[in-house]
Point group: D2
Chain length 307, copies 4
């Protein structure tokens, strides 16, 4: 299939939607981003790369980082991790605190904030220090994306810390149930920092290759997780990857994926490719407006949906 042609078509068709929606404005640093940007990249298992638009421009990956930390924790702890965090979809954001309370501090899945904070805590416990933890998260991301200069945007991290009271509430509640080993503020700060990593579409598409290839990056020939773990991560991305619009995404796009409020969405076509799309303005569910449409067009044009 001529993926470059398909991406070019998508870029053309999606243009009227670029800038529609609303850039995340809960922290000043994210609110500054120009909404009229769009990039998309596809990397096949044999390393062919196709891109359009601002695919080389770095943006704040935000919740996409949860895929990376979940992968790292799953490799470290294997099934033991599921004692601390589940793999089932959660309901509305309203329920997050109710569910944590009712389920005694065990978050429903690693992609809601509560779950990602527990995952981050498990990494800090493993590395025994938050700085070393961040270094290793960065190291992992640099390796799977094949780019050594990926880094954290300190302004974004700082901005999150100044406004993240709800996440602090979650972390303290989890701690009160005994499901955090480390200090809740340390966990939240480390979490904010790995959310503030900046990457481009091309780098993120590359970083999905191991999930498209049963845990082993086909270019690096390195196993980052077992085939079963890769299947698990893909399944959790499909059922829980898009906040309160996971069902919509499963239908419209039909691929395992994960979105972030920075406007990025990664997706995986098992056995075939890694994908990333980015456009900063968000729809009412907090997922990239133009990005969601672009992915839907991609599965329509290629017939790659799983349904």
């Amino acid at each position: 299939m001529d993926y470059q042609k398909i991406l070019d078509e998508i870029y053309k068709e999606v243009k009227p939607y670029i800038g529609k929606g609303k850039v995340a404005d809960y922290i000043p640093e994210l609110a500054k981003v120009n909404p009229k940007q769009f990039g998309m990249s596809v990397v096949t298992l044999d390393g062919e790369l196709f891109s359009v638009g601002d695919a080389q421009k770095r943006f704040s990956i935000q919740s996409i980082s949860k895929v990376f930390t979940f992968t790292m924790a799953l490799k470290m702890y294997s099934k033991e991790l599921y004692k601390r965090v589940g793999v089932e979809p959660s309901g509305t954001p309203f329920n997050s605190l109710v569910q944590l309370e009712y389920e005694h501090g065990k978050p429903r899945n690693p992609f809601i904030n509560a779950g990602a904070i527990v995952v981050t805590d498990s990494l800090i416990s493993y590395y025994k220090d938050e700085f070393i933890t961040l270094e290793n998260i960065l190291g992992f991301i640099r390796e799977i994306s094949k780019k050594g200069d990926i880094n954290i945007n300190p302004q974004v991290a700082k901005s999150e810390m100044e406004h993240g009271y709800r996440n602090r509430a979650l972390a303290n509640l989890i701690k009160s149930f005994g499901n955090l080993d480390n200090d809740p503020i340390t966990c939240v700060e480390t979490y904010f920092k790995h959310c503030a990593v900046e990457m481009s579409c091309e780098e993120l598409a590359h970083s999905m290759l191991f999930l498209a290839n049963r845990g082993t990056d086909p270019l690096l020939k390195k196993e980052f997780c077992s085939p079963t773990q890769a299947k698990r991560i893909n399944a959790v991305m499909l059922t829980c990857g898009h906040y309160d619009a996971s069902g919509e995404f499963a239908f419209h796009v039909g691929l395992p994926g994960k979105s972030g409020v920075g406007g990025g969405i990664v997706a995986v076509v098992p056995g075939k490719m890694g994908i990333c799309v980015w456009s900063p303005a968000l729809n009412r569910y907090g997922n990239s407006y133009a990005g969601t449409i672009a992915l839907e067009l991609f599965t329509q044009k290629t017939g790659l949906s799983i349904f």
Copy 2:
């Protein structure tokens, strides 16, 4: 692929698990079923049928009927239906009432009880009478399964009615928010009746063919819903089809599916086949114990998982 050989292998490997778990006992009629039964059927798009065990024995389809009523309502009302029922996963059973309250009587998806009751209400409004509604549900089921003698077990329906206070509570709460057109008790009784339909694995596997073939039954050459609607139904089955174990099922089986407390599970391999497995004893999530294992073995042996 030699599906008969694969089914024979599965039957052998799953034997130690048949009868493990617990038959649904919340109503006396279901509690009477012998747990030591197991059947499985696969039907390909060209009509080849493969079966093992008690695949011709009829059992109570229970929540699997929600797939049929959702299909009917989607065809009648198209996108209008989503104003009354969502397509997103819900959280714990505990949350069912909280969510209904918080979301003003709009159930999260058509496969939780609240959602299925709204779907049934929409059918009654369409047919203007509950008896005619049931006749049409039965007619639809008989057509897609190609068996004219499929029917409701009146003892099971009566037993449900005698114990279904929680479902009555849900229906009355939905009504209080104005999201039921008809009398809540009528809706619940009609719902209980279509749950009490009895079918065999072979019949249920056949009834999934239209979903495996973009809405059109390949043997009858008849469209039961549009390709987009079939995709939607499959997506909802994947994300919401197994109560509080939808995430687990997505991972272990990796196919759109729907389970019932009678011990049946249907699954769809898009573009390839319809599947049904049955074994009455349930795991702690209310899904067939041996049935879930059998489906997992099937996707392992055939490599048909979507991830």
Copy 3:
């Protein structure tokens, strides 16, 4: 103290507020009432009666009837009753279903709807028939108010039944937890009927005398409950008698009391008198607008507040 003079003053001062607020309109029968009415009565333990305004006009007592059914059940079951219904304040109406769920179908107190339905169920179990139950409730009310012609308004009862889906939801939920002996619809209908009793201010003030006199009506010389039970009923009226404004009422009025959406409020001055005020238009908490002000003026002018 010259209570007649005080009532006359109150009547004059409260006039600008009569008709302010909103008549209960959730059922058509209650919505028809002329809001520009006001009556108030005080009866002392020695039987002196003081009245102003429409104190002899009968109105729908609604939730005030919960005081009578609670008294009857407490006499029948004594402390055993507390196994089925608590005596603690509840939170917001929103919480009613959440709390019932979390507390396994045991309502927080006998003055929220869920609790009153359980109390009504306990009366039906005692009398073994809902008709006999209603006859006995009416008999009790006629006796304590010394008026043989008090009766149920069948239009109001019917109107409630046609719109009371939320109460039906509560009753079915309680039943699903095993905390109703009788059919939930029977309980709700009986509950709606005793809420539809019509009485005047003079009759209701009289009916409070036994609670002002440690359980024994001073005029009839008859004990309707023990001194301890009377104290309990007064305490529950103070802490739970006014929906989500019980704290406000305790502060502003400072007397045990119970309001109904028909616009009536009864109050008790322990050791001294029974009081009833009525004006149909309600404030935003569902309590009589002018009535609440009149009671506040009464405690200010007489210094009878308990604080």
Copy 4:
């Protein structure tokens, strides 16, 4: 009435219950207290003091301090305070987070932890510094109790800070709704510190005199709040003063009161006296086991209940 004789009788009768129940053990410092202690004091409006047992021994006042901070904030902000904290009873502890979420960060009353944290925040905003705030809280307590050496136990405060994750979660959640002006951790620490004040029964009984005398301490001849504010504080103590047993306390004791997990309970007889009882072992609601019984005996023997 011979109050000394009554206290002596109570001491004798309550002896079998002293030590029954369980000392608060959620922080190590409180768990160390010898449970076999009991003290009780009564001070009349003319300054007569009656005591029994360990009435001069200081203990951790814990939540009783909420009465003092609420009084101070009410005087500073008057009715404006009610925009930030309500005066209605709350439901179960489970509901605390649900209610805060549903009611957008406005706590139900100043005596649940969430409410007390908001009150503390309002004091810090007034004094513009947490150290000065604590100095003024201590100053207020020293003045109303007429004892200049009352102080904070730093070990208890430190112990709370090391274990108070749930309170930190509440504070951060309130902050996320914009209902805290200051840093949530500062608010929680200041709150923990004023809870760690140590006072004796005699001192606490004295400190209730202004509430028994319409806001003015009869011995100091000084108004600490207006008559209306005193009435409000008493009403809130009656309806919300004893966690999930406020209804039970209203019934059994029938006086405005406030308990703390240190085992102290203060109570007010409006127009007559201030009372304090202390015994460290708690009943299942977290209120002093022997203390509650002693207060019940006191109202029985004196007939001073408000019902």
